[in-house]
Amino acid sequence: MELSSFLTLDSFITDPLTHDFMRKALFMSSLVAAVCGFLSSYLTLKGWALMGDAVSHSVMPGVVVAYALGLPFSLGAFIFGVGSVALIGFIKQKSRVKEDTVIGLVFTGFFALGIVLVSKIKSNIDLHSILFGSPLGISLSDVKQTIFISLLVVILLSIFRKDLMLYCFDPRHAKTVGINVFFLHYLLLTCLSLAAVVGLQSVGIILVVAMLITPGATAYLLTDKFDTMTIISVLSAIISSVIGIYISFWFDLETGGSIVLAQTFIFLFAFLFAPRYGIFKLKKFFAGYK
C-alpha cells in the first residue's frame, strides 16, 4: 500500500519529465520566474505595480510588428515597452492629467493597437499564445533569446543591486551623494521591459504583471531584510512555475493561468500565516505555548 502510493507520487513527478517539451517548459519557466522574481522585490518596494502592468501590456504592438517583419520579437517588445514609459512621462509633464490616469490611458491605447494590428496583419501570429503564454510550445530561437535576455537582466540587477535598493528607498540621498538617479530610473525601467518580454512567453501579456509583483509581495510579508526578500521572491516564483506547469499537465489546464494561480495561493498563504505580518501571526501563536 505504502509502496504503491509512493510510486504514484513518484510518477506524478517523473512522468511529465519524459516529455521533451515538458522539460523545456519547466526549465524556461523557472528561468523566467527567477528573473521576474528578482526584479519583483524592487518593483513592489518602489510601488511600480501599475507601471509593470502598463509596460507589459504596451509591448503587444511591438511583438506583433516584430513577428510581421521577421525580427526578434523581444526587440519590438522592448522598443514599445520603453516607448510607453517615455510617453507616459511626457504626457504627465505636459498636461494636468494625473499620473495613474495617464498610465491607464497609454497602456490600453498601446494594447488596443496591438489587437487591431493582429487582426489586420493576417499572418501566422497566434494571438492566444501572446495573450495567455505558451511555455509548452516555445521555439528554439525563442529559447536562445530568452536565455540571453534573462542573463542580461540578472547581471544588470546584480551589479546595481545596492544602488537600486537605495534608489527605491531614498532617491534624494542617492542624488545628494552623487549617484546617478536618472540612470538608475531608466535601468529599472529597462529591466522591467526586458522581464515583461521574457515573462509573457510563460504566462502571456495579460498575466505577466503577476510575475512581476506577486513574488515580491509574498516575500515582503515574510522578511524584514532586503536580501532575504529577494531570495524568497525568486524561490517562490520558481516553485509557483513548477507547480503551475505540473498541475496544467495533469489536469489539462491553461499553463499561464495555473502558474499565476499558484503564485496567488502562495501569497494568500503568506498573507494568512506569515510569522510577523500574517493575519494569524504564527510567531505569537507559538510563543504563547512556550
Partner: protein, 254 residues
C-alpha cells in the same frame, strides 16, 4: 563688504528660483553660511523649505540664480560628499525591509566602488556614527521596529558616516522623544565645534532660539535673514506666517 572671498562660505545661494512646471515654489532666495554656523529655516507648509533643501542638494534644478558650495558647483559638492540630507520622518518608507546598519552604510555609498563593497574604513565610519547616536544595541533592527526618535537618529548617523561638512535637516525635532531631542542638541554643539555648517527647518520657535545663530524666514522668498536675536522678532514671524500671530500658531511664548 568689499572683496568677498566666496571660498569662505560653505553655502552661497544667490537669487535662486525654483519652479515646478511653471508653478513658482521659490524665488529670489539668498543664503550665505560659514563653517560652524547653525541656521534655522522657518516658514509655513508650502513656503518652500523642502524646495530650498532640494535646490541645495541638487535634487531639483534651479531655474535662475547661482548656488556655490565651498565655492564650487552643486554637482561637485555631490561628488565630494559635501552635503548630507536628513529627511523628515514622513519622507521615508518606514516599512522598507532594511536595518539600521544598512541605512547608515548608505552614507558611505558615494565614496565606494560601483559594487558598493564596504572597506575597512567604511565599516569603521559606520560603527563610529552609530555609536555617536547611541544605537549600538540596534545594529540589525529593521527600521520599521524602531521608535520615531531612534529612526531619526539612524538617519543622523547616516549623515555622520558620510562625513559631510554641511548638514541639511528637515524637521529634526518633529515626533522625537526627549532622549533623542537631548542627544540631537548635544550633537549640534559637537558639529558646530567640528566646523560643520547646519541648516535645519523647524516648526518649533523654542528650538530656533536655543540652537540657531542665524535664522532664515521664508514664504516663497526670503522674508528676513540674519542673527537670530535681531531677526527673529514677532513682527517678522507674523509676516512669514501670512499675518497670523505666532501666539496663535504656537501658543504664548515662554
Amino acid at each position: 563688504m568689499d572683496s568677498i572671498n566666496y571660498q569662505n562660505f560653505r553655502i552661497d545661494a544667490e537669487n535662486i528660483c525654483v519652479d515646478y512646471n511653471g508653478k513658482v515654489a521659490l524665488y529670489d532666495a539668498n543664503l550665505r553660511l560659514k563653517p560652524g554656523q547653525i541656521c534655522g529655516l522657518v516658514g509655513m507648509n508650502g513656503a518652500g523649505k523642502t524646495t530650498f533643501f532640494n535646490a541645495l542638494t541638487g535634487f531639483v534644478n534651479i531655474s535662475k540664480g547661482k548656488i556655490r558650495i565651498n565655492g564650487e558647483s552643486v554637482r561637485s559638492a555631490q561628488k565630494d560628499q559635501t552635503i548630507a540630507y536628513v529627511p523628515q520622518s514622513e519622507g521615508i518608507d518606514s516599512q522598507f525591509p532594511i536595518n539600521v546598519w544598512d541605512v547608515v552604510m548608505m552614507g558611505r555609498y558615494g565614496s565606494m566602488n560601483i559594487f558598493r563593497c564596504p572597506r575597512e574604513s567604511d565599516v569603521q565610519a559606520v560603527k563610529d556614527a552609530i555609536e555617536r547616536v547611541d544605537l549600538t544595541d540596534h545594529l540589525s533592527t529593521p527600521i520599521g521596529n524602531l521608535s520615531g526618535g531612534q529612526r531619526k537618529r539612524t538617519f543622523l548617523a547616516r549623515a555622520i558616516a558620510q562625513r559631510a561638512s554641511i548638514l541639511l535637516l528637515d524637521e529634526p525635532f518633529s515626533g522625537v522623544d526627549i532622549r533623542t531631542e537631548k542627544l540631537i542638541s548635544e550633537l549640534f554643539i559637537q558639529f558646530k565645534n567640528e566646523g560643520k555648517t547646519i541648516l535645519l527647518s523647524t516648526h518649533d520657535m523654542m528650538h530656533v532660539r536655543e540652537f540657531c545663530d542665524l535664522v532664515l524666514l521664508i514664504n516663497k522668498t526670503v522674508v528676513a535673514y540674519g542673527e537670530t536675536s535681531e531677526v527673529f522678532t514677532p513682527e517678522n514671524i507674523t509676516t512669514t506666517f501670512g499675518g497670523i500671530s505666532p501666539d496663535f500658531l504656537f501658543g504664548p511664548e515662554s
